[in-house]
Each structure stands twice: as structure tokens, then as C-alpha cells.
Amino acid sequence: MSIESPLWEVFIRGQHGTAHRHVGSLHASDAETAMNNARDVYTRRNEGLSIWVVPSNQIIASSPSQKGSMFDPSQGKIYRHPSFYDIPKVVKKI
């Protein structure tokens, strides 16, 4: 019985200079084939100018059980957001 080809995650940078964005996954036997398949599967409507493919098993994901310790602390740091500061209206361009 044959072994299934590995899974790859596909990231594409579109027209407007934005960062690469995850668009989906696919199967391919190796990196070159994964890149070709990504082009054929995920840029059929002119979506992309640059493609990254990454073996799915190489992605290290944060675990949901750590969600609290990973993300809650930043919730307290409201001073990182510009809206935290009241600047008088007479002061311009800040």
C-alpha cells in the first residue's frame, strides 16, 4: 500500500504589498512539487505575486491551553495603544 504524500501549508503575498497570508493546504511529494501545486491550486484567479510553501509538520503552533499565559498579559497593557493618550485638540499632527 502506498504512503500518503505529506501535507504543506501555502502562504501567498497578493497584489498590494501586504504580507504573506495563509490560504490553505495541499499534498505534494516534495518541495518543488508543492510549489508547483500551490501555483496551480491557489493562484487560479490572479491572487498572488509570491508563494511560500511550508511542510505542515514544521509549523509550531501555540497551544490553546496556554492561551491565558500567551495572550492575556498583553490585554492589560493598554498603554501600548495610541488611544490610551489624551492629547489636547489644539496640538496638531501627533
Binding site: 504524500s5 493546504s25 495541499l26 516534495d30 484567479r45 490553546p64
Partner: protein, 330 residues
């Protein structure tokens, strides 16, 4: 719909106060409209039902390539040929996106494929009907994709993140499918006598099977109640079917075609169309393997898989040679 027969846990959804704390926190997240992601805790029933539903949906997309694929070689103009090929190719993509979504829950595409090939997994009944004339390419786009879109648009808000994101991509691509179908219907309905006859014949054959796509009435079904509580099903089948009839009847009238239902008429009181139910006995036969094309459809998928084995194996063999050579270098 594309997943017409998804069995859920088989019992009524539990009320919040009967749930254990984990289940309850999970349900509350869903009620708040949060998305569930692959690594999040989820009840076993949720996971199983989703895998089954996404699998059926994916199978429907790729088996759905076959009835339309049947006419790519015979499309009557260069442009129609390109449009039809692009459309059927999109369906392959939809299958791929949905298999990928299901894979996030730990079920491999190969496993799902084997379930389809062995006849254990279901796919939408509609694709077991034959495509007999060119107008069928119109009717399938207009009615079948039309019905599918009706179901898929709300699924963009489904609770499982990867499924919802796949649906967003699919809906974007679907938008031309129904229109190209209606465009064919217009050409046929307003064309020669023979063309108009093909269009009518096609509507006659595809009307009731399209109504069946929404599945039997499920307002009493415990499966549906649980799936709706989990937001992996958004609307009742009858609700969508009614909406579909309301939308389609005036379109048929525009084409000058007659929907094959003597009971179809506008009801002023309900402000809806009254219409006849499809033959549900036929539906259960088709979904359990006795449709006019079940044998051909499964045979075609099996042949593609068996004939393609050397190709898949060959590429994997080459990949392992490459990585051995790399390791030898290091």
C-alpha cells in the same frame, strides 16, 4: 445539501445546565459566535459530526465533477469549453479545500478517499443523475450550483474555523458557476426550437432532484437540532428549499420554461410559492446507491484512484531518493 445525511450524536442537544464544565464552556463559545480552531478542546460528537459532514461535502464536490465533465469534450464553442473546464476544475479545488479542512481534525485525505471509494461514505444524491443534453450544463449551473450556494453562504459563519474559511473561498469561486449556467439556459431557451426543447427537457429532469438536494424535512430531527446548536448547520432544510423555489420560479418564467409542477403557484397569504414535494422514496434509493448513475460515478472515481497509484507512488519513491541523497551529503 452536499451533506444531506449527516448523522450527529443521535440525541437531543443537552441543555447548558446538564453539561460538564468543559462542554459548557465550549457551547458558550459557540453561542458567543467564537470560532473553534483545530487544537481547541471539543466534544467527541462535534469532531465526529464535522469530519463526516466535511467529508460528505468534499466527496460531493469531486463526484460532482463527473456529470459536467461528461460534456467538456462536447462543449459547442471554444469559449463554452473553456468556461466549463474552468468551472469543473473549480469543483476539484472545492473538494481539495474541504478535505484539507477535515484533515485539521486528524483524518487523512487518503482515509476519506477510501471511504468514498468503498461506498461507505455518502455524497450528494444530485450527482447520480445523468447529463443527457447540452442544456444540462445550463441547468446544473443554474439549479444545482444555485441550490449549493444557498447552503454554502450561511456556512461561511459555521463554528469551525477551517471549515468556515474554506467556505469563504468556495463561495467566492462559486459566484460565476450559477451565472454561467443561467447564461447557457438563456441561449438555449431563446434559441432554436430544438434548443428550447432541450432546455425544457433539462428543467423537467433536474427540478425535483434539485429540490432533493436540501434533504428531507428536518425540523423534527435530533441530528439537525444538535448540529444547529453547534452551528455546523445553520438553516432547516425546508427553509432553504422554500427560499430556493421562491428565487427560481421567476427565473424559469423569464426563460419561458415551465417548472414541471402543477401545484406550483404564488400564495398571496404566505407570500411564498406553494409547490410539490419531490419523491422522497426515490431520494432514499438514490442516496443508498440506487440512482441512475451511482455505479458509473463510483467506478470512475475508483478507476482514477487505481490507475493513478503508480503516479503517486513514483513521486514518493523519488522524494525518498532525494532525501536519502541529501542525508548522505550531510
Amino acid at each position: 445539501m452536499y451533506a444531506q445525511q449527516v448523522e450527529s450524536t443521535g440525541s437531543q442537544p443537552k441543555s447548558l445546565n446538564k453539561m460538564n464544565p468543559k462542554e459548557r464552556a465550549f457551547q458558550e463559545r459557540i453561542d458567543r459566535g467564537e470560532r473553534i480552531e483545530p487544537k481547541d478542546w471539543m466534544p467527541e460528537g462535534y469532531r465526529k459530526t464535522l469530519v463526516r459532514q466535511m467529508g460528505q461535502h468534499a466527496h460531493s464536490e469531486i463526484v460532482g465533477q463527473l456529470p459536467e465533465g461528461n460534456w467538456i469534450g462536447r462543449a459547442p464553442t471554444l469559449e463554452r469549453k473553456a468556461i466549463l473546464l474552468a468551472k469543473v476544475q473549480d469543483e476539484a479545488g472545492h473538494g481539495l479545500y474541504l478535505y484539507s479542512a477535515a484533515e485539521t481534525l486528524g483524518k487523512s485525505r487518503d482515509d476519506m478517499t477510501k471511504e468514498l471509494l468503498s461506498g461507505r461514505a455518502k455524497y450528494s444524491s444530485i450527482f447520480n443523475y445523468p447529463t443527457l443534453n447540452w442544456a444540462d450544463m445550463g441547468a446544473v449551473g443554474w439549479l444545482v450550483d444555485g441550490a449549493a450556494i444557498m447552503n454554502q453562504v450561511p456556512l461561511q459563519r459555521t463554528s469551525y474555523g477551517p471549515y468556515a474559511r474554506a467556505m469563504v473561498r468556495i463561495c467566492k469561486e462559486e459566484s460565476f458557476h450559477q451565472r454561467q449556467g443561467f447564461d447557457i439556459m438563456m441561449k438555449m431557451s431563446f434559441g432554436s426550437k430544438e434548443q428550447k426543447a432541450m432546455a425544457q427537457d433539462s428543467l423537467n429532469r433536474f427540478w425535483y432532484p434539485s429540490l432533493m438536494m436540501f434533504g428531507p424535512s428536518d425540523s423534527e430531527s435530533v441530528h439537525s437540532a444538535q448540529s444547529m446548536a453547534w452551528k455546523i448547520k445553520i438553516n432547516f432544510n425546508d427553509e432553504l428549499r422554500q427560499k430556493f423555489v421562491n428565487q427560481t420560479a421567476p427565473q424559469a418564467k423569464y426563460l419561458g420554461l415551465k417548472i414541471p409542477d402543477e401545484n406550483l403557484k404564488w400564495n398571496k397569504k404566505t407570500e411564498q410559492y406553494d409547490f410539490s414535494e419531490p419523491d422522497w422514496k426515490e431520494f432514499f434509493e438514490v442516496i443508498s446507491g440506487n440512482g441512475p448513475c451511482n455505479i458509473e460515478r463510483l467506478a470512475a472515481r475508483n478507476k482514477a484512484w487505481d490507475d493513478g497509484e503508480w503516479f503517486r507512488e513514483g513521486l514518493m519513491a523519488n522524494a525518498s531518493k532525494q532525501s536519502k541523497a541529501m542525508n548522505a551529503k550531510d
